[in-house]
């Protein structure tokens, strides 16, 4: 086993365990902390694929900014331990079969994916910061700007909703 593969398994296990812990934990802060672990493990996986820029941005944006907001809101609302409610009938009956089916589809898709897709990942197509910026600001500039506009609209909508109560 190469060191890369060993690190991959450690990070993957960390991500999966973090995600599981996120669901199992009863307290929102503990769940948020588990989510941070998942984010950092994902950043480690990006780093392993040689895309340093994406890894750093993953930690800055998701691990830092967004999760700080999560934690901030949880602390501000002083949310307590979740109460266990009666599990819905549908989830109890169909939950596990559906989960297995989804897992099966994903596994099949990954197993079927051809060599070229894997080679593309291994070559580190997203390695270079320059390439990413060229892609974002040249090749896909219209979709990129459109997405920014969508986010702007969402922010304005949030402000309008928050302001309504005052007036």
């Amino acid at each position: 086993m190469t060191p890369q593969l060993a690190i991959f398994f450690v990070l993957a296990a960390l991500a999966v365990l973090g995600a599981l812990n996120l669901i199992i934990q009863r307290h929102p802060i503990h769940s948020a902390l588990s989510l941070i672990v998942v984010m950092i493990a994902l950043a480690g996986l990006y780093l392993l694929m040689g895309s340093e820029f994406v890894a750093a941005v993953q930690i800055i944006v998701y691990g830092g900014a967004i999760m700080v907001l999560f934690v901030f809101v949880i602390m501000l609302l002083n949310a307590g331990v979740e109460e266990r409610t009666n599990v819905s009938k549908l989830a109890g009956v169909a939950g596990i079969p559906l989960a297995v089916a989804l897992l099966g589809f994903l596994a099949a898709a990954i197993a079927r994916s051809n060599e070229s897709a894997q080679a593309g990942v291994e070559a580190g197509t997203l390695a270079n910061t320059k390439e990413i910026s060229t892609m974002l600001f040249k090749d896909f500039v219209y979709p990129f700007e459109l997405t920014s506009f969508l986010i702007l609209v969402a922010i304005l909508g949030a402000i309008v909703l928050a302001q309504r109560e005052k007036s």
């Binding site: 307290h27 802060i29 503990h30 902390l33 941070i36 950092i40 950043a43 340093e52 820029f53 890894a55 750093a56 941005v57 930690i59 800055i60 691990g63 830092g64 900014a65 700080v68 907001l69 934690v71 901030f72 602390m75 501000l76 002083n78 910061t129």
Partner: protein, 408 residues
Amino acid sequence: MNSFLAANASLIIAFVKIALLLFIVLTVNAYLTWFERKVVAHMQSRWGPHRVGPHGLLQPLADGAKFLLKEDPTPAGVDKFTYFLAPLMALALALTSIAIIPFGPDPLPWTVWGQKVYLGIADLNIGILALFAITALSVYGVALAGWSSNSKYPLLGGLRSSAQMVSYELALTMSVVGVLLLAGSFNLRDIINAQAHHPERGIFGWNVWPQILGFFCFFVAAVAETNRVPFDLPEAESELVAGFHTEYASFKFAMFFIAEYTSMITVSCLCTIMFFGGWLSPFPASWTFAHYLPSVILIPFGLWVIWDGIRYETIFGRLVLPGIGTVLTVIGIALAIPQLQFVNEFVQGPFWLLGKIFVFLFVYVWMRGTLPRFRYDQLMSFGWKLLLPVSIANVVITAFAILMWGAR
């Protein structure tokens, strides 16, 4: 044995460097507290610590012993896991960020097992981004400490801290984009080297001149990120007892303390590297006599310490201070000897870098002795309505200027 050492040389050198840097950073932290107390005291016409050792020089040791020996009670009703995790996170992240800083341009004058040894542990392509990633995570130390203590003042401190971090992180990141555009790289060495394109200009080649707006935004936002005066709302002792670390005692408190001082050092390093030329000398490259400046500073300072030491009140001081003075003088003389020219050349980079870092640390302490704390609403409007627009304007202006006239 020797072949094992040679085969794993880079790994062993890295570990030795990490241990050495940890030792140096922790010692500097300890004496930074001494320095801060002394400087603030003299600003307020007091003496500061001067009982423990000559000029209070052993005060940090006494403080350290106290931190280790004090009782460490865990308050009732805390969230145990998070309560113990928070100081660990704060300290670990603060110390990790130092690893990315390069401390000198050249490798050591001799090779170790055939390896060139550079000053600095990790030379990353994404240096500055990695540093921001670490800062982005370091807020959790403070926020979680505040939340897990199960007490209202820490909770308020933690809340303030997370709000403050979110508000100032944007300005912090945007303010360095100008520097990155000028350097064309995230790597800290490249950023310094980009400021050396005109060695004849000396101090006027540094980034601080074209990036004066960026520097202003960066420094203010960085001070806010380190929770120092005038942005120390998370621990505002006049309102929140001690803010987020109210419920922490003994060494867990010391961990927050060390984390805070370490991030002060990191920010000073970053200011120096990004805006003040890093290890570049402020004099034009043709002024070779400026290379004797370390000696010119060290010898008189050493002689002064000797002179001050022999008149000191206590016998211990009369022994220790002249000793320190002699060492400093000898180092100063050694650097001026022509036979040790290569040592002098090697020392130039670290000398300027550490000198500039020291200036920034002094500014930190100076601000603490001078400025009152911001009010919470002032803090928010300052961050969002002034710093963020100015830093974005700086990016636009810099990009435009580079497009018109090129980066050099």
